[in-house]
Symmetry: C2
Subunit: 306 residues, 2 copies
Amino acid sequence: MTTLPSWRDTATRKTIVDFVESVTTGADAVPVAERIAVFDNDGTLWSEKPVIIQLDYIVGQWAAAVKADPSLAENQPYKAVATGDLSWLGHAVEKHYAGDDSDLKQMLGALVGLTDGMTVDEYAASVAEFFRTAKHPTLGTPFSGAVYQPMVELLRYLEANGFTCYIASAGERDFMRSVTQEFYGIPPERVIGSAYGLTYDADARAVKYSANLDFLDDGGIKPVRIWSRTGRRPLLAAGNANGDLPMLQFAVGDGTGRRGLALLVHHDDHSGRGDAPYDGGAEQALAADDVTVISVADDWEQVFPA
Amino acid sequence: MTTLPSWRDTATRKTIVDFVESVTTGADAVPVAERIAVFDNDGTLWSEKPVIIQLDYIVGQWAAAVKADPSLAENQPYKAVATGDLSWLGHAVEKHYAGDDSDLKQMLGALVGLTDGMTVDEYAASVAEFFRTAKHPTLGTPFSGAVYQPMVELLRYLEANGFTCYIASAGERDFMRSVTQEFYGIPPERVIGSAYGLTYDADARAVKYSANLDFLDDGGIKPVRIWSRTGRRPLLAAGNANGDLPMLQFAVGDGTGRRGLALLVHHDDHSGRGDAPYDGGAEQALAADDVTVISVADDWEQVFPA
C-alpha cells in the first residue's frame, strides 16, 4: 500500500480515502482552488507530551535570561525556571480559568519580553538555533523525530489530490515557521497561529516584535484566522483538542452546503509506541457530532518517523 | 515582443527585466520559494480616479439604506449620499488629519454598520452583485476594464519567472477577494488588505463581521501585514502613493542583504489614454531613493485592456 503506508487498513482510513475521492473525482468534484485543508499542530502534527515544544524553547530563553541577570529569579516565571519546578506555569493558567488573571499576565509579560524589539529575522535565528540542538525529552531525538509520521503522510496524500494544506495552531506562528517546511513541507505563508504584535521600523527597514500578544489563535479564533488568511472555508480540518472544535465544525459546515471532513487525533495508545495516552482537554471534541476520530492505537501502524 | 507587450522599450522596462533576470538566473539566483512580489491595488493595479472603486460600492450601499429608511438622511454620511454631494466624506478625512476625528468616526461607524452581523459569504455575494452591473464612471466599462493592462502583464511575467504575487492594499481585503482571481489571476489567499473585525458564530458555523475595523493596511502597517501573511520579506514591491513607501523600502531593504526592487506607478499621462494625471499623495514616494518610477506617459504603450 503506497498511499498512507503508516496507516492501518481501518474504517477511519477508509473514511478519509472515500472522502478525498468523493471531492476529487466525478461530476461533483470540488475545484482544486477550493481544496483547502487545515491542521492543528501540537498533538495533531507533532507530539505535545510530555512537553509543548514551544514551551521548551521559552523556558530555555527564560533560563538564559536568569543566567545573565540572577536577580530576575526573585520573580515569576523566572523563579520557576531557576528552581526547575515549573508547576507555577500550570497554576497561572488554572488561576486564569478560575477568574484571576494576575499570574497569567505576569507570565505573558515575560513571554512577550523575550521578543520585544527583536526583528523577525533575529527571532527566526534564535528559534533555528534551538532546533539545531534541542532533543525531545522522552524520544531522545531532535524534534524532527517527534512529528506524527501518519499525519505527514496525510499531508502528502492530500497534496497529491490537489489540496493545499495549512497549519492552524494556537502555537506562535513565527516559531512554527522556522521548521514547518522541513518537518511538514508546509511553507511559512501557510502557517496560521497565535501572533505577537508587530511594528515596522522605517529606519531599519525591518519588521520587529512589540510587547504584546496580538491574538491567541484557539477556539473560535481559529475559523476567524483561517478566513482572514485564506478567504476560504476549509474542506478538511484536523485537530486533537477542544480548541480545535470550532475549526472542525467550520470545515464540516451546517450540512446545507458542500461536504467537509473533520478529523480528531485521539491519543489512546497504551503500547508505548507513541505518546502516553491522554484525553484531557479533548472531551467536548471527542463527543462532537460530525467528527471522525483517529485512534492512535488502532489506526496507526507507526507513530513517529522510523 | 511577447514579454510585457503593453510596455514600451524604455529604461524602466529594462530595469525590471534586468532585475528579474538577476534574481532568477545564475549562481546568485534567489530560490523560487523566496520570490515574493507585493502589489498595491488602487492606483497600482487598477484605476482609483475619479473614483475609488470600493467607495463606489459603499456609497451605493448607503444609498440603498437611505432608500429603505429615509430618516437616515438626517445624518451623515447618509445625508451626503442622499443629496449627491459627497464632499462631506473628503472633509471628514481632512478633519481627521487636522486632529478632529469626530466625522471620520461617524463615517467609519456607518461603514462597518454595512457588514456588521453579515456572514462572509453574504458580503461576498453583495460585492459580486455590485461588480456584475457597476460601470466605471469615465471609462464606461465594467470595472474589469479599469485594470492597468501593463501591470497585469507584469504579474504574469513575474509568475513565469517563479514569483508568487500578492496584493497588499489599503482597500478592504474581502471586497477585493471577490474579483482578484478574475481581474488579476490572484487567488483570495494572496490578498492582503484592510479588514473588518470577524467573529465565529458557532451555532451557524459561520464567520461573520463585527462592528469594527480590525486594521487599516496602509503605511507602516503594510510591511507588518505582509510579514504576518507570508513570513517573508518581498523581493519586489509596487505601489503608487506615500502609503506604499514603507513596503517599497521593506522590499529594497537596507542594502546589506539581498537585492530588491521597488516600483512606483506615476500617473503623469496627459494624453487622455489613461487616468487624468495626479501627484497628490505620492510626493514622498516620488522623491524616495531606491524607487524605480514607472511613467504612465512614457513607459506604457497601452493603459487599459483593449
